[in-house]
Symmetry: C2
Subunit: 406 residues, 2 copies
């Protein structure tokens, strides 16, 4: 256990300024005396800091209070558009960008299809160009942007933001964060997509009562991330949360990772589509064949869900088996981690509530302890959730330094 | 994110005293100036605190330094036996007690067989009596004992120390911590055995480079606990680490928990013994039959390990299958948690290195990502490790308050 660090006068001043700013963001509009009381610091200290923030146009006056008689205190509020954060979701085939202001509110968002991710360096330059152009169109000067967070599917090295491997992109050992930083005039941070998603989703559903959230991304692949309190659990190298590669069926099909029977190999969007392609190729009678116009290669998970909803037997079998296996995988994660909330997100969750119900039944069947306090629920279904999470991860990293960049 | 708390003068004084004490425990013998430098506080502050600690007989002088010429500074050291912590391992059939002094060194230990754990209240009274008698025999007054930590196998509710369920004891809903506290004149804390074990084991193997340790208890049952940095990951309700109930073989045998194919149902000491009993009952040719003197009910896991070491085919098959399944279970935990060290502890690990090698091979085969930095190794094999961990958990809890009880 390290010693408690003694703060010097400069650090105390920085921390006080940071705390006043955070108090204005979280609890404003608010007057000087209330800030002093809330933070347990003196009113003169607050007055000096407020003067400085006024000068830097970070806060503004929003009128006088109405407390009894006498001189009324001035009410202060943050200038919401004094600073901005950018979040970028480098998705499979689509780039999504959000710009948030100081208070975390969304200012603008956009999406654009992207082509083949090769050569990597050119693809990354293209991503940068799209982002910089979008920010410029919003007439936000780079000096008012505190940073940009990028979410990338794959294994991302903690600290360096290097892509160790990104199977969906066919990338290996790409210094993504360094390449992005070159040419971007504010701090850049790269995080795993599911971790970024989890940071946003858990914040949306955040309450004082929730201690640990497991967020599961059920899409083309399957991943998970753990939030304890308000912090992301990253593991040693930032590659935790590989729920998709937990073995749920030892006799199951081969997975991309080289093992057999991984959750991702039996229950991901890709696996659902592949199973349907196989039965259609064998001329099974199924509505899926109608939906795909006899083009088995064109089958995607949504067609299988749609066929299942229409009561199609083979489709139902595929979907139910996928849900059951997800439940088994979740039970393992819950046994190990004892979360109080599990959020199911990702594309597969956009296919109605029956899928969630099946997953829940299977998970509960396989849990070691039924505590009765575990909540399993669907996430926001917001397509910008990952981009928002990337921006939020960046914001949290800056706040953790306990200093304002002004 | 909460605001940084501003400390008042009393809290600052308390924290300084705590830090000086900790500095003496961790880095002593040391002189006053060196403490002041290490903690970045003034020498007069250190002098006042040291005077107080002298008066309370918590520290002593161990001579003068030998730095150049002139007046030599007095070297101070902690009085190791000024305070004590007790750790109690309430094991299946055996009670183990350790007493540690202020610096964490073991002062004494004992073990004693315990009978049936019924009725619960009488069993708990007996445990208390044994502990109090042992401490009395050591001539340590209760005022010098800072507290006692108790390790109990089963699900323990965080905060209250209540036993939710302890299958090995047949207990359910027992307010263990409250019952223990009644009649013990210092603070009492109850923790899950595997969590206590993990706290001690990870501290033994602790280095600055290790970030996350997964500690697995392979014994009559199977459990795990996660240590991040130097802190125990507890989960929401303190019932995390149920690796034993992760499903590794969907077609496997029924588990005590009601599911089929849990790791504990195929690889625990109990499961290994049960599998051997079954084959002996079916008159298979095996050395196990010799070891147990044809008394199938008397077979334990050690006999099976011994037979396997002697090259017995059926025994080898049981042990290898157990190891393979443990490897699958570990791969899931590693996929999810990305630890940099896995410590294998518990009775099954006392049967030679071949078992560990088999587990490692299976785990590596099933990992999603082979980072090359994961270390799998055997724990200390110290039979008092759980008791020591219980004492350490209590010590950490007291230290976390950042105040000395004097």
């Amino acid at each position: 256990m390290p010693y408690d660090k003694k703060l010097n006068q400069f650090q105390i001043a920085q921390t006080n300024k940071y705390n006043v700013f955070r108090c204005l963001v979280r609890e404003g509009p608010i007057n000087r005396a209330a800030i002093a009381k809330r933070l347990d610091i003196s009113i003169p200290t607050v007055m000096v800091i407020v003067e400085d923030l006024f000068e830097k146009k970070v806060i503004r006056s929003v009128g006088k209070g109405e407390f009894g008689v006498g001189k009324q205190p001035e009410i202060l509020a943050i200038e919401p558009d004094c600073f901005f954060y950018v979040g970028v979701d480098i998705g499979r085939g689509t780039l999504r960008i959000v710009v948030n202001n100081t208070t975390g509110s969304e200012v603008a968002s956009m999406k654009e299809p992207t082509g083949d991710p090769f050569p990597e360096k050119e693809f990354i330059s293209h991503v940068k160009k799209l982002m910089l152009r979008f920010v410029k169109k919003l007439k936000i000067g780079p000096e008012r942007i505190l940073g940009a967070g990028f979410a990338m599917p794959g294994l991302i090295e903690k600290g360096t933001g290097k892509v160790i491997v990104a199977p969906d992109f066919g990338w290996k050992d790409i210094p993504l964060q360094d390449w992005l930083q070159a040419g971007i005039p504010y701090p850049v941070l790269v995080k795993n997509s599911t971790q970024a998603l989890a940071v946003n989703e858990s914040s949306v559903f955040w309450t004082d009562e929730v201690h640990t959230t497991l967020c599961v991304n059920l899409g083309y692949g399957i991943g998970a991330a753990i939030i304890t309190g308000e912090d992301l659990y990253e593991g040693t190298g930032g590659i935790s949360g590989e729920l998709g590669h937990c073995v749920v069926d030892r006799e199951g099909p081969l997975c991309k990772c080289g093992n057999t029977g991984c959750l991702e190999a039996v229950s991901s969007g890709e696996a659902i589509a592949r199973q349907a392609q196989t039965i259609i190729a064998h001329h099974a009678r199924s509505k899926i064949a109608e939906f795909c116009g006899a083009n088995a290669a064109g089958i995607d998970a949504k067609m299988v869900f749609d066929a299942a909803k229409a009561g199609d037997g083979p489709a139902l079998k595929i979907i139910n088996s996928a849900a059951e296996n997800i439940g088994v995988g979740l039970s393992m994660a819950v046994n190990l981690l004892d979360p109080d909330r599990v959020l199911l997100c990702g594309g597969l969750m956009r296919n109605g509530p029956a899928f969630l119900d099946r997953i829940q039944a299977s998970m509960e069947e396989h849990l070691a302890v039924k505590t009765g306090r575990l909540v399993l629920q669907a996430g926001t279904k917001d397509e910008y959730s990952t981009a928002k999470g990337a921006s939020r991860v960046l914001m949290n990293t800056l706040w953790a330094r306990r200093t304002l960049p002004i």
